[in-house]
């Protein structure tokens, strides 16, 4: 977020695997799911499960460990929530957690849904293996530090929806009143069709209401 991008590949061309390798985490396979600006966790999970590629990562039996970071903050000056889920099968079984306060973070994540979540799971069945990577002896995973989520009265998406709906409602009222006056006074004007504008704006308003928000990568 502080580097101002949301993508699998950074603007400098770094892919997710380079970030994993930078932490000296060695793996035989790895995957990444991204999500942005979902108001509810359930909606995000549903979106991931409805997307064939994201679902494949979640259900891929090769992955035995996962790490999730949920971060609230500003991206390009806009308040948003980013979620990054990494999947991997490590080359080695033992994990060394380098983040000193992971215990505290984990406790916090268990206590409330609003707190950023932090998971690091290790499967007892994981096979020591082929070693795609650098150091076969040690596997370490650094968990992304996340800030406390703040309870907001309205999410940015809800505020956008409210403002846009107010503008649309105002425009529709003006257009309908204009059409009423035109009919009442039999005014002849060469302008666009109010009924078409009202239909279009009404349609946009309905979409704004029913769209849930949130984006996957």
């Amino acid at each position: 977020m502080e580097h101002g991008y949301w993508a699998h590949i950074s603007p400098e061309g770094k892919d997710p695997w380079q970030f994993i390798q930078a932490q000296k985490y060695t793996y035989t396979s790895a995957g990444e799911n991204l999500a942005k600006d979902f108001a509810e966790t359930e909606a995000m999970i549903r979106a991931w499960m409805n997307s064939p590629t994201h679902r494949a990562n979640i259900l891929d039996t090769r992955f035995t460990e996962t790490g999730i970071a949920v971060v609230d903050g500003q991206l390009d000056g806009v308040e948003t929530t980013l979620v990054v889920q990494m999947f991997a099968h490590p080359s080695q079984q033992i994990a060394i957690i380098t983040e000193p306060d992971i215990a505290q973070a984990t406790r916090t994540s268990e206590s409330t849904e609003l707190t950023p979540e932090l998971f690091l799971q290790s499967s007892p069945n994981a096979q020591p293996s082929m070693g795609k990577n650098l150091n076969p002896d040690v596997m370490s995973a650094q968990v992304v530090a996340v800030e406390d989520a703040k309870l907001a009265f309205l999410s940015p998406l809800q505020i956008s929806k409210a403002v846009f709906l107010a503008v649309i409602t105002l425009l529709i009222i003006v257009l309908l009143y204009d059409a009423y006056l035109e009919r009442k006074y039999h005014t002849i004007r060469n302008v666009g069709k109010n009924i078409a504008h009202v239909s279009f704006l009404l349609f946009v308003g309905i979409l704004i209401v029913i769209l849930k928000g949130g984006t996957l990568l």
Binding site: A47, L157, V167, V191, F200, L201, L207, L216, L217
Partner: protein
């Protein structure tokens, strides 16, 4: 053109507009989680609305630059709202 035929033609034009809006609505709803498809659909929606307005006014020989700009403004407003809502 008689008044009845004219009315039928106008009704047909509005039927095309409403049908297209519904189809666009379904596609935007289905692709709402995919930023690229969603934005592409929104751009297509705005372009269609301007094209519909221009075609409608050409048929009735009432097309002026001001009317084109009016449709462009309404289309831009709606599309910008849909495109920027998720930023």
């Amino acid at each position: 053109m008689t008044r009845s035929k004219n009315t039928h033609a106008i009704l047909l034009e509005y039927l095309v507009l409403i049908s297209a809006l519904l189809i666009f609505g379904v596609f935007i709803f289905l692709y709402q989680k995919d930023q690229v498809y969603r934005d592409a659909m929104v751009v297509l929606l705005g372009s269609f609305y301007v094209a519909w307005g221009v075609a409608h006014h050409i048929r009735h020989a009432r097309l002026t630059l001001r009317i084109v700009l009016e449709y462009v403004f309404v289309a831009l407003l709606g599309c910008l709202m849909l495109a920027t809502m998720f930023l």
